[in-house]
């Protein structure tokens, strides 16, 4: 029982990381209609920025905050100068551009800081705490809480502020939003910046246990994409729930299903996907996807 609870809590923690990346993907998709395969890679770059700063003696919290600022700017720049041209065109082409971006970012990181695994300091202590008679890792709880808080903040932004309203309007109908004077281009940049920031937070939280390397979030990207498919591109809540389920299930499967074990955990989301899709082709929560004619 103790193991079970631990696995669930740890699964919630990793699931939260996937959820953050998945949300970033959904955010970008709602604003600009494309899937950003470089979302994880952009997050890793931000973590490297934080890492470099911590090596210079900057306190971890400040370094992470700086990396968040960096990723907001970086996300905005990527939207404006790289993706803008491909946003109104064929989404498949845009995806290939993001794949190119991923390769470039991985290459830059590898060139600047090598492909070796780097240690990244943990925001939370590595101890455990007693909960209902079971030992659970502080870090897992901490990660989950941080991500939930960040998601809550984003939600508050979107629903409660003028900027959030503007971002939503642009995502729904950019031309119509422009008729009301909304600076669509600038708002898209903000959207991408926010998504990148979300990724940066997730990256900083998970880097201590994965160790920092250019390809650190490649696997997480796969989980995040599975969560997006399962949750549906139109449902942020669905995506988060799907990510948590994936995180928990893969942990449980790794221990309780011998064939899968630790190395084939990554197959779990897709087995789950396969099963769900047979029943519900549009994912667990989503509406039928909007087809761009």
């Amino acid at each position: 029982m103790g193991t079970f609870v631990q696995l669930v809590v740890d699964g919630l923690s990793t699931g939260s990381i996937y959820a953050a990346i998945a949300l970033a993907i959904v955010l970008v998709n709602q604003a600009t209609g494309l899937i950003n395969f470089a979302q994880g890679g952009m997050a890793v770059l931000a973590v490297y920025v934080a890492w470099v700063l911590t090596n210079e003696g900057v306190p971890l919290i400040l370094a992470i905050l700086a990396s968040i600022v960096f990723s907001i700017v970086f996300g905005a720049v990527v939207e404006r100068f790289l993706m803008r041209r491909f946003e109104r065109g064929d989404p498949d082409t845009a995806v290939v551009v993001t794949i190119g971006l991923l390769t470039l970012i991985t290459g830059v990181a590898g060139w600047l800081w090598s492909y070796n695994n780097q240690q990244f300091p943990s925001l939370f202590p590595l101890d455990t705490v007693q909960f209902l008679g079971v030992s659970v890792s502080i870090r897992s709880i901490g990660n989950t809480v941080v991500i939930i808080v960040v998601m809550g903040l984003l939600q508050a932004l979107f629903v409660g502020t003028k900027l959030g309203l503007a971002l939503r309007a642009v995502a729904i109908n950019p031309e119509s939003a422009a008729f009301s004077g909304l600076p669509v281009g600038r708002l898209l940049m903000v959207g991408w910046g926010l998504a990148a920031a979300l990724g940066a937070v997730a990256g900083a939280l998970v880097a201590p246990q994965l160790t920092l390397t250019p390809g650190m979030l490649d696997n997480a990207l796969v989980y995040a994409l599975a969560a997006v498919i399962l949750g549906g591109l139109t449902s942020p809540v669905g995506v988060v729930v799907a990510a948590w389920i994936i995180g928990i299930l893969e942990n449980l499967a790794a221990v309780y299903v011998p064939f899968i074990g630790f190395d084939l955990k990554v197959a779990v989301p897709f087995i789950l996907l396969f099963v769900v899709l047979v029943v519900r082709p549009q994912g667990l929560f989503g509406r039928k996807s909007v087809v761009r004619v």
């Binding site: 309007a169 729904i172 009301s180």
Partner: protein, 236 residues
Amino acid sequence: MTLLELEGVTASYGPVQVLDGVSLSVPDNGAVGILGANGAGKTTTLRAISGTVKTGGRITFDGKDIRGLRPDQVAALGIAHVPEGRGTLGDLTVRENLRVGAYLRKDSKAIEQDIDYCLDLFPNLQERIRSNASALSGGEQQMLAVGRAIMSKPRLLLLDEASLGLAPSTAKNVYDAIRRLRVESGIAMVVVEQNANLAFTLVDSATVLEVGRNVLTGTSAELKGMDEIRRAYLGG
């Protein structure tokens, strides 16, 4: 005082030339109609004004050349475009749609008052204030679209086919409200309409477009009397 002036405006979509030298003049507080059959270039003329299509020729607003400006920049100058198809933001509520209309403004108290004014102008929206715009009927969405446009306190309103897809009584309601708006606020208007009868209840003058060119221009009184108009657009 001419508020809006179009001279020899051209526009094309790829190789297809849609506007071939269109001219238009809207005085301050005036209302001008653009009539014509489908494909004549009426909608494209409005899009030329609001900057959603690349154009040649001259377009001046308040003496300033606005050709080549982005749509949001044109909106910031005080031109509000209610597009064909209404452009309501479906996943936002009625209130949120109206708020979006006021995006460029900073006077929050006055914005609330203006929302109340919109709801007074369009009472149907009052009870749907918290519904998502996509749940509204066609007529209600049209009213919402006009409401959102006037929330920015524009000097010029571009109305594209406001009666499209609406039952005659609903269309009349919409036009009644717009007429009242015109009287109470003095907003200038360019009104694209296929239903010339309806248009003449609102506009002082009109121009008729055919294959991207003006073929007839005159006051409402003059045009209403002409045989061609009567036959082509007023049903006999």
